[in-house]
């Protein structure tokens, strides 16, 4: 009886506290540029709200939690055209009282925005450039997008585990293709794969799609791969989507393809269903009537990180929040089988890399046997002893 009375008293206190408390509004900015619409497969053309939809779902998730804590999250998305200055856009956000922003911008624009908004904590949800985590790292930029080296390492671990150590590397002629090839070469060296030959596939500027293009491709690709020494797997670096999707089933030798087509390393895939991921996938499809992409996931994780910090630490300013992310108390649950934490030396989110064939998840790296003294997730990407990032300078 006494206990019941006590409980009732405690409830009264709680209820009155809840009623009296003011709702805290947490505004999150989102700066984005239009994604390239050139892709070989129609299925790879990004939706207009690619990335943004993931952020919106996470805002909903945060608000479901927030209603119990009197916190409300809101997204302020800004679409940048080529002519728009990212620095000015960030300054505008800061002036409107926003302290946190997601940036889905190419590397140079991202740096401009980050440097214009030093008082803000920004989240890189799109750019995979290693330099943003290395020589060009910034003390106010958290990366939820995996770096190219993390993606390449995840793929390489699986290929080596599979005993497919002899690679034929085919590289596109754009800068991003070359950067991905650099990451793949580094991964091959780290994990003991051998690049038997490298070939360049030049972008001659033709259209991706023509009404009778297939018959030409069917004869071009075998010829292109005919002279290569024997290899186990063809690894393609083609972020610009010029040729990689043409490779599977068309190589001279019957060999599998990985990298930018075939078996692709990624932070998310619409088919991923393990570790409770189905629930997130269902919520996403219900809201947006399409499947969730890697960019959506990278934005979802960023908004959820802000939500986690706000609920657990009641941290509302960028410095408190970053301290929380770097602490041992921070753990993000993102349906990848283990907690995600932050690398305190360059503010990259540690995460497993999914290997997708476009239909199902084939494997999830880190692969068994790739060990690390601190976290096996640090076998993916540039590790603490190798980093060129000096955050104090940022």
């Amino acid at each position: 009886m006494i206990r019941t009375l006590f409980l009732a008293a405690a409830l009264c206190v709680l209820v009155s506290k809840v009623a009296a408390a003011q709702t805290t509004e947490i505004k999150i900015g989102y700066l984005r540029e239009a994604q390239s619409k050139t892709a070989i497969s129609l299925l790879d053309i990004p939706a207009p709200d690619d990335g943004l939809a993931g952020a919106q779902l996470a805002i909903d998730d945060n608000n479901t939690t927030g209603k119990f804590l009197n916190q409300h999250f809101a997204l302020e998305a800004t679409h940048l055209d080529n002519a728009d200055d990212p620095a000015a856009a960030v300054a505008k956000l800061a002036a409107s009282g926003v302290s946190f922003a997601l940036l889905d911008l190419p590397a140079d624009a991202l740096l401009k925005a980050a440097d214009a908004g030093r008082g803000l904590l920004v989240f890189n949800v799109g750019a995979s450039d290693d330099r943003l985590r290395e020589e060009d790292c910034r003390a106010n930029v958290v990366h939820t997008a995996p770096s190219r080296s993390m993606l390449a390492d995840g793929l390489a671990q699986y290929l080596v585990w599979k005993q497919w150590q002899k690679w034929l590397l085919v590289v596109g002629s754009h800068i991003s293709d070359k950067l991905f090839a650099d990451a793949l070469r580094r991964a091959a060296k780290r994990f003991g794969a051998k690049i038997m030959q490298e070939k360049i596939f030049a972008d001659t500027g033709g259209a991706r799609r023509t009404d009778s293009g297939l018959s030409q491709i069917q004869s071009q690709i075998p010829l292109f791969t005919q002279s290569a020494p024997d290899y186990d797997i063809l690894v393609a670096a083609d972020e610009s989507q010029v040729f990689a999707e043409y490779l599977p089933y068309r190589t001279w030798l019957p060999r599998p393809v990985a990298g930018s087509a075939g078996l692709v390393p990624t932070s998310w895939d619409g088919s991923h269903d393990q570790w409770g991921a189905v629930q997130l996938q269902n919520r996403f499809v219900q809201l947006f009537h399409r499947r969730m992409t890697a960019r959506d996931m990278q934005a979802w994780m960023a908004v959820r990180m802000i939500g986690e910090a706000a609920t657990h630490q009641r941290a509302h300013d960028p410095k408190q929040m970053l301290d929380f992310f770097k602490s041992r108390d921070f753990a993000l649950a993102a349906f990848k089988g283990q907690k995600l934490t932050l690398r305190d030396w360059n503010l990259q989110l540690r995460q497993p890399i999914l290997l997708s064939d476009g239909r199902v998840i084939v494997s999830v790296a880190p692969e068994p046997g790739f060990l690390h003294q601190f976290s096996e997730l640090d076998t993916l990407g540039v590790d603490r002893p190798e980093t060129k990032c000096r955050l104090s300078k940022g």
Binding site: R3, F6, L7, A10, L11, L14, V15, D61, T64, T65, F68, L69, G276, Q279, N282, R283, Q286, R304, E308, T311, H312, A331, L332, A333, G337, Q338, K339, S375, E376, L377
Partner: protein
């Protein structure tokens, strides 16, 4: 000890026990066969329920059920085993006399875990897809209402006095306290990432909530609604990320807790007074849920990745046997036949 010798000894011991029991209760046994204790294991991938005879420690029947069976509970009257078949959006009722699916409950979409009220009239179901707890009348097979909770509700528990329902939400990272008389949330307690399971001590003095990604079990004062302590785990040679607490079992005397550690492939034995781990028991791969036999002599654990069930001798704190079941065993409940 070699497995065969161990089995023979166990069987001898069981035989002696059974003999004594039969001697003392011949009259009863003549009228009605001795009640066998059966364990029902839901196999998430196999879409089956394995029935284990706990005298023989053998699978004696495999029941075909709906798509993706996970949460599984015996009704208080022992007549039915309820199994949530998430991909069919329903809870199936298995008649424990015939071991056949005889009816369904309107669970709402994608049911995972559920719990009965203390009187056995109602079932509270966590519907992961739409952030609700659905209340169902077992006898009338109808929905009575629902409560909105956090993102991805999962763990469900009723306080021993029957007044408070606990629901844990996996992405909101809270244990919600729902007053069952008013069906309103009266408190929300933040815990570590991805809370999967909640269990009261039998005297109601503590609520334990496991956090799969956080790697801890929060001990909550159910009156003050605060976390008073966190149970932590450390296993030599195992990375911290692999320690993922899920299922919890606490003995009736409230002295010992068992926590399933998922891909760490171990059950932690916890001194429930000090909240310190006293032993780790190696079981099968990716252990999630567990159930005691009614005499609390044995604890059965479901090991998803190795497709088996480990039998733990509770007084001895030893794993004594492993039984192969269906694909991806998820939950387990124990019934008297």
């Amino acid at each position: 000890m070699p497995a065969l010798e161990r089995m023979t000894r166990t069987m001898w011991w069981r035989g002696a026990f059974l003999g004594a029991f039969l001697g003392a209760a011949t009259a009863v046994c003549l009228a009605q066969p001795a009640a066998a204790v059966m364990a029902y294991v839901s196999n998430e991938k196999g879409n089956t329920v394995s029935v284990i005879d706990t005298d023989k420690w053998q699978v004696v029947k495999t029941i075909k059920v709906g798509q993706r069976p996970r949460g599984i509970e015996i009704t208080k009257d022992g007549k039915y085993v309820l199994v949530a078949v998430g991909d069919d959006d329903t809870i199936q009722m298995i008649d424990t006399k015939t071991d056949e699916v005889v009816d369904t409950l309107p669970s709402g979409p994608d049911p995972e875990l559920f719990i009965e009220d203390t009187r056995g009239n109602l079932v509270y179901v966590a519907n992961e897809n739409d952030n609700t707890v659905t209340i169902i009348d077992i006898n009338k097979r109808t929905q009575l209402g629902s409560v909105q909770v956090g993102v991805e509700p999962e763990g469900m528990e009723v306080s021993p006095d029957g007044k408070i329902l606990i629901c844990t939400s996996e992405t909101t990272n809270m244990a919600h306290f729902i007053d069952l008389a008013s069906r309103k949330i009266v408190a929300n307690v933040l815990v570590d990432s991805r809370p999967r399971f909640a269990a009261f001590k039998p005297d109601g003095s503590e609520l334990w909530v496991s956090s799969e990604i956080g790697g801890t079990v929060s001990v909550i004062d159910p009156v003050k609604h605060v976390v008073t302590q966190k149970i932590t785990f450390a296993i030599a040679g195992l990375r911290a990320e692999a320690i993922q607490p899920v299922g919890i079992g606490i003995t009736h005397d409230g002295k010992t807790g068992f926590v399933a550690l998922g891909p760490a492939n171990r059950i932690a034995v916890v001194d429930a007074a000090t909240h310190k781990v006293i032993k780790y028991l190696l079981v099968g791969q990716r252990v999630w849920h567990m159930a005691f036999t009614p005499d609390e002599k044995y604890l059965l654990t479901t090991n998803g990745v190795s497709n088996d069930v480990s039998i733990i001798d509770v007084p001895a704190l030893k794993v004594v046997k492993t039984i192969q079941v269906g694909e991806l065993p998820w939950g387990v409940t124990i019934a008297r036949h």
